[in-house]
């Protein structure tokens, strides 16, 4: 039975541990950053109050606040079964990867060999080494001063991934960052931190995946910062496969320099309560960006996606397509905001959220918002919420396909728009089979 604690008490136990870990008299840049973030979190507190709190109106965070998070014993990585590991590696053990369990880096389960084109290191390894530009970049893209979860993550950075793609290099195979939570001890928390820097003219694909092995409840509070250099092309995939009792709060900040391309495919399958914040900012002209998402939820799952696109520069284009399949009594929230700053002419932004409800009690909330401060732009949005099309169902049945199989065809057809948009065949095949497995369980 989770202990009921007040909001202030929630993290105080963990704070004491944090402050105890820092030796007096010695303060590295990272320790200073963490202390500052912790101070901010103490002021901000968790956004539990719902009334008047537009950003969190539909998502009740009090379950998180009620659970006190205890420190985790280090996991013995040799205990990880081979077939589980094979599954987590998405059937591609040749991809360069960093693997973390409960916030700890596991060098034996990681693999890096493309050192010509990429720097792929865990944060603890490069903190003290000034030749790696960690200090110049970490926390410079995602501001924690007004965001409690980002402040919390920054305060508790234990380890994470630092990825830097060299200028003008094409990285042939995807880079895989894996964050596993063992979830065998009750009520634990981890704070994954990822920093991705795409050099000028570079091209790479990065997958971030989140896994929960056992069934206990836990909190994953993740922050990912992505800087896409001038004329670079970065494709990012996020796979959230937490267990059904998990709380997953993620903040992803993308900053794109001029003439670059960025795409993001965000797949939510697990979790009891999931909140993803994606913030995007154009730091230069002629950027092209794609934000796609797929959420497949059942039972009492709750997924909340907030995407804020800040078109600060002219001649920038974005496309957003989020699709959800909801069963049981699940609930989804989608808030898509588009900002076009003064002077940002010829911005072209289109945002769509579509939901397929497979049960009567599922509910999808969708809210687009536009702040447009420039006339010469094209911005639009679309939203749809419905059940399986009866006409299409009859069409398939009239060709001899039984009703259940026909429904599956149509549901898969609905999600295929997102899956088919994945260029890399290896990634597409893996994601397709994971998606298919979840769809079979949504009623």
């Amino acid at each position: 039975m989770p202990k009921l604690v007040t909001e202030k008490d929630v993290f105080s136990k963990a704070f004491i541990t944090l402050e105890q870990d820092i030796p007096t008299g010695i303060t590295t840049w990272l320790e200073k950053l963490k202390r500052d973030a912790a101070d901010h979190f103490k002021q901000l507190g968790l956004p539990i109050q719902r009334r008047g709190n537009e950003e969190w109106k539909y998502t009740d965070l009090s379950p998180i606040a009620k659970i006190a998070f205890s420190p985790i014993e280090k996991f013995d990585s040799k205990k990880l079964k081979q077939e589980v590991l094979d599954y987590i590696l998405l059937g591609n053990p040749s991809w360069n990867r960093l693997l973390f369990v409960d916030g700890n880096f596991e060098p034996d389960l990681s693999f890096v060999n493309d050192t010509d084109n990429i720097i792929l290191k865990n944060i603890q390894d490069v903190v003290a080494d000034k030749s790696y530009k960690l200090e110049q970049h970490l926390s410079k893209y995602k501001d924690y001063s007004n965001n409690a979860f980002v402040a919390l993550n920054t305060a508790f950075i234990k380890d994470g991934a630092f990825i830097q793609i060299a200028d003008n290099r094409l990285v042939k195979e995807p880079i895989h960052i894996i964050y596993i939570t063992t979830a065998s001890q009750p009520e634990t928390a981890s704070y994954p931190r990822t920093l991705i820097l795409g050099g000028k003219g570079s091209q790479a694909e990065i997958i971030e995946s989140y896994w929960g092995l056992d069934n206990e409840a836990y909190l994953t509070n993740a922050v990912t910062e992505i800087f896409v250099g001038q004329a670079a092309s970065i494709k990012y995939y996020k796979l959230e496969l937490q267990n059904e009792n998990a709380f997953h709060i993620s903040n992803t900040q993308v900053v794109q320099d001029s003439d670059s391309y960025f795409s993001s495919v965000n797949i939510d399958i697990g979790g009891k309560l999931v909140r993803n914040n994606i913030d995007f900012l154009t730091a230069g002209e002629n950027t092209n960006s794609l934000f796609n998402g797929l959420y497949l939820i059942n039972a009492t799952q709750h997924v909340d996606n907030q995407v804020i696109l800040d078109h600060a520069k002219p001649y920038t284009t974005s496309r957003e397509l989020y699709k959800g399949v909801l069963g049981g009594k699940s609930r989804s929230v989608f808030h898509g905001s588009i900002i076009v700053r003064p002077g940002a002419v010829k911005v072209n932004a289109m945002q769509v959220d579509k939901n397929l409800l497979l049960s009567d009690k599922a509910e999808a909330d969708t809210k687009p918002a536009f702040w447009i401060y420039c006339d010469d732009v094209k911005c639009g949005h679309g939203a749809a919420c419905g059940q399986i099309d009866d006409q299409a169902l009859f069409y398939l049945r009239s060709r001899g396909i039984d009703e259940e199989t026909a429904r599956n065809f149509l549901t898969r057809g609905f999600v295929n728009e997102i899956i088919d948009g994945i260029d890399n065949e290896d990634i597409r095949i893996e994601i397709s089979s994971i998606v298919q497995a979840k769809l079979e369980n949504i009623r």
Partner: protein
């Protein structure tokens, strides 16, 4: 092959079919003609088992099996096929995958061997050539972005693959220009054997220049007011439906 006895059917509590009786033998092609609202398309949809229609009387036997009690998929597996007048789009579902599932499900229900992906694809290529469409169509989502003519040809392709015993074509000529019409007609003719049968619903006579019917039935106001051979179709072409509407008691002066 098909026996319809005094069939009554309604939709939204409005009776559309008011006692249809019809016999179709193997090897025959029957044309059903009539003015708008006469119930021709309703008959096609009721035979296929469209959920919104309710049968309130009569019976239909397909090779001596009670058709009305069968689910739509069961009717297809029994050998019935409906060419829709307005085929619906099914986004995200690829044509070849859908057809393969359909083909194999029908085979399975008959205890016959199913085809794997490669064998099915080979067969599909052959049919695509026979029907005269481009192979690239089968990689697209079902009917998505298809023109009217392309949708009709897609229906014919499905018919060629599934080889039904009884094909019901609901206005396969509507919205087609002369060339497309000829192509569709040719494809229909190529698929006819002495073992299968066709019911062709049409408003206009012109397709019957290419697809010659064995029998023609005129529908007015939910009943068959006249049956005959292909000469009946030509009579309607020159004289219209007025005579038959009068006969059916419809007030045409209104």
């Amino acid at each position: 092959m098909l026996e319809i006895r005094n069939l009554h059917a309604n939709i939204d509590d409005k009776e559309i079919l008011k006692g249809i009786s019809l016999d179709v033998k193997a090897g025959e092609l029957h044309a059903i003609m009539g003015p708008n609202g006469s119930g021709k398309s309703t008959l096609a949809n009721v035979l296929a088992g469209k959920p919104s229609y309710k049968v309130t009387g009569g019976e239909v036997l397909l090779e001596n099996q009670d058709l009305i009690s069968m689910l739509p998929e069961e009717r297809a597996r029994a050998g019935l096929f409906l060419c829709f007048q307005h085929p619906v789009e099914v986004p995200g579902v690829r044509m070849d995958q859908f057809l393969r599932q359909s083909f194999n499900d029908i085979r399975k229900s008959k205890g016959e061997d199913q085809l794997d992906v490669l064998k099915f694809d080979k067969m599909l290529k052959e049919k695509v050539e026979i029907v005269g469409i481009d192979y690239s169509f089968v990689k697209r989502s079902v009917n998505e972005g298809f023109s009217g003519g392309e949708k009709k040809r897609n229906e014919i392709l499905q018919m060629a693959v599934l080889q039904p015993k009884l094909a019901i074509l609901d206005e396969p000529d509507s919205g087609l220009d002369v060339d497309a019409l000829r192509q569709v007609a040719q494809a229909i003719n190529n698929l006819r054997t002495d073992k299968n049968a066709v019911i062709l619903v049409t408003h206009y006579q012109r397709i019957l220049d290419y697809v010659v019917p064995d029998k023609v039935h005129v529908f007015v106001n939910g009943t068959i007011v006249q049956s005959g051979d292909k000469k009946l179709a030509l009579e309607i072409e020159s004289k219209g439906y007025d005579k038959y509407e009068e006969r059916a008691g419809k007030d045409i002066s209104a």
